[in-house]
Symmetry: C2
Subunit: 145 residues, 2 copies
DNA sequence: GACGTCGGTCGATATCGTCCAGCATGGCGG
DNA sequence: CCGCCATGCTGGACGATATCGACCGACGTC
């Protein structure tokens, strides 16, 4: 599905998605129109979902990051999901198998803010909160091989 | 720290980090040299950590995503952390407070692969695995406001 | 073996990025 | 209160880059 050049192209873009076509072309050993065409097709096929920017949460004042496991009370699943989605501080949420229905990541400016947000869920779900102390692995794509 | 234009710039870049300076300039109502200078400073100050590409894991053959909580056995913390870091399938790992020492995200091609990877940790740590069924919120930055 | 398709290069032209000079604004000291 | 400096913006010129069209070669099909 992806050939070797596509993979190298993606690997380069993971590092710097703003490189010029010319530079990308040089890195993978093609001409820039070819690279342009390959990118177009990767986008079209949905391999590339988006080009985006990685922003340091600290720079925005978010000093705290928490991972919350959320188990809605019977019959409250949809209400809880909606509440999570509408809370902007939740920056990632997965619906998973097992007792915990949702696992979500939360960025907050303070413990008080964390408490305030979790309080709003407290009567509809049980939550277990873990504060992030460090990130041995910060978001990376799965191996391209 | 960040003014309104910086925030709008970041908001635009989150959506498409490959837009030209000219286009970015038009979106925030400045000239392109100004935008260029603002980006340079956002990068310099560490607000922008990187420009990157969001790749669909399915396109690479990763059909399964799991979230694993990992509790190393006494004295095994560093060995376990090293093992996690060296396993490329772990694409995110946070060290957290609480009983679970690590919470990690794993991309795999099959249940067999998941089993194989967790087996390598099994004698050094207890793990609880949750398979991701859907993603109500897929990675987004915290509110820029 | 001829033909169609796909993916590539090359060169011309349009578009964009960068550099520079000059100008407006806001904060500060005399 | 006024002048001065620092900062950040703009516009235009010029070099760099993207895009488009024409063409080429490899490969698979009939």
């Amino acid at each position: 599905m992806l050939d070797d050049i596509d993979r190298r192209l993606l690997a380069v873009l993971v590092e710097d998605a703003r490189l010029s076509l010319k530079e990308l072309a040089a890195r993978v050993g093609l001409s820039s129109p070819s690279v342009s065409e390959r990118l177009r097709r990767l986008e079209e096929r949905g391999v590339v979902r988006a080009y985006t920017v990685d922003i340091a949460p600290q720079a925005l004042g978010y000093q705290l990051q928490a991972i919350v496991r959320i188990r809605p009370m019977p019959g409250r699943l949809h209400v809880v999901q909606k509440l999570i989605e509408e809370t902007e501080a939740f920056c990632e949420c997965d619906k998973v198998t097992g007792d915990d229905c949702f696992i979500a990541r939360l960025f907050v400016r303070s413990i008080e803010e964390l408490d305030r947000i979790l309080d709003r869920i407290a009567d509809k779900a049980e939550t277990s909160t873990a504060i992030v102390k460090s990130q041995p692995i910060r978001r990376r794509p799965p191996p391209l091989a």
